[in-house]
Symmetry: C2
Subunit: 343 residues, 2 copies
Amino acid sequence: MSATNLPPAADSASGATAPQFAVVGIGNALVDVIAHASEEFLDAQDLTKGSMTLIETDRAVELYAALGASVEMSGGSAANTMVGVASLGGKACYIGKVNHDDLGDVFGHDMRAVGVPFHGGGVDHGTPTGRCVIVVTPDAERTMNTYLGVSSSLNINDLDDTAIASGAVLYMEGYLFDRDDAKAAFRHAATVAHANGRQVSLTLSDSFCVDRHRVDFRSLVQDSVDILFGNADEIQSLYEVDELDEALKMVGRECGLAVITAGADGCVIVAGNEQIKVSAQPVDRVLDTTGAGDLFAAGFLFGLTSGLPLAKCGEIGSIAAAEVISHVGPRPLVDLHTLLTDG
Amino acid sequence: MSATNLPPAADSASGATAPQFAVVGIGNALVDVIAHASEEFLDAQDLTKGSMTLIETDRAVELYAALGASVEMSGGSAANTMVGVASLGGKACYIGKVNHDDLGDVFGHDMRAVGVPFHGGGVDHGTPTGRCVIVVTPDAERTMNTYLGVSSSLNINDLDDTAIASGAVLYMEGYLFDRDDAKAAFRHAATVAHANGRQVSLTLSDSFCVDRHRVDFRSLVQDSVDILFGNADEIQSLYEVDELDEALKMVGRECGLAVITAGADGCVIVAGNEQIKVSAQPVDRVLDTTGAGDLFAAGFLFGLTSGLPLAKCGEIGSIAAAEVISHVGPRPLVDLHTLLTDG
């Protein structure tokens, strides 16, 4: 692993300069509101365990009122990933939209505090900073109810093209790929990245997201995505196939690289016709699965932008994911680079 | 312990009705901003470990900017105590002042979520909800920097006399005994409590608070306080004596009951000329001492209002304190009543 952990400079033939960041992420900037509750609470509130549901103000108020005492901490899928990259020793940058309110201040602080420059979008939005009400059941599963607030109104004007141009890999979060403005922002960001000789990655985030926007996701993946992250449900939904093997073959033809996670079963890395399986790291006690996929992506991208072999990238992803599921909260509690035993 | 855990009805000769609450608390309503940091951070920021320092907006902004990623959760000394009483199975009520902002919403939610009615004071205050920036060092000590915000402007109009009249014990937090309006509110609350045949308790909170307002604290204790909570520093500061024994004698003459905590050495309960020592509960690993005194008071008052012997009250206090110092955060993570092995 290089001393700087920055990726090698791009091919000089492309005319691109050395990247300033290993990864630049774009996603829904959310503060997590985390509370423990029983299975009965999920039933009473008509919540489907493990799902992510978008909620409006009224429902957010109702659900929060029914919920026990909570802890607030910064979250957001791609934001968690950028924090993970930084914790591993890589340089990361994040673009997401917040309001100038208490939760927006908290979000921005927590990114900058771990050395991740944060672009919070235009100023004085009338809509509050988004929040994700996460119910953690005794089996450590998290059920998410997201009030997107101002986060989902991200548009081209909220992007920082200079930052995107200087990240070796652009990382975009499928959750945000919902409104037309955000879809246009994703395409613009991908264009900027490619024009500067960078790679473009996407996480599918959620099979319901894929269901809702399958045609647009397919076209984004075909046209612009070099590295795709997802789990079995998401990738099968993308290609509308019942068998994972079939989905893996299809993604191998469309993306240079795809990484399909499978929880305790580890992951499969698809590079064209080649498939590499990587085991999950053992965890003594899983306390909260929130952030597992986010931190896996962080580890994988850190490895990739450090020039490591794909199997090693998957292993670092598994190490980062194992840390975050061993405690409550979506971000690492230790400096992840201390968990990497070799260099 | 009675099934309801409500205190016995007041002496019918006093004409008072049975109390609705075991304890009604009044204090600074604060949201805690908790971050881990090194001893070097304390030095660099000129912070005295273990102290509580009041800070203004500029310093709050500066300190927060220097601090690492944080977790936000509801705190406030007397508020933590009321949550502890509720967690033990007692009925508690809380009066404190917040603004209608994100942190104020969080604070109110977290009280109501554990069954503690919350009176948040008058509406539409221009000053933000207060927050306490807590730096936890590797030795589990907490160093507090409090931006009081609207919490310290509590005055008589923010009180709920009906609630105070219906609490077997009124519990007031010394931290709030600072501005003249708040001092007047304390005296008024004590008058209301006594007029309804209730007991009045006070925690000294901090030796610097006592230093700043010694004359007023002394007169409040002499005139109105039936049960006094404090540690050795605080009680010696109150009576301006160098020896704890001397302070214990003095408080025995002024208060019906005083409870002096001494961390790992347990506590001394002073009832007139009698002194009862109670050991601290063993703790495997102390992670964060925030809330130790608050939860001790909760356990003691729960025992007292349940009609238990003083030594047993001290023991329950120690059990509640032991739980809260074994994890990060100032409020219990388990239902404390499950930790009480006998009835």
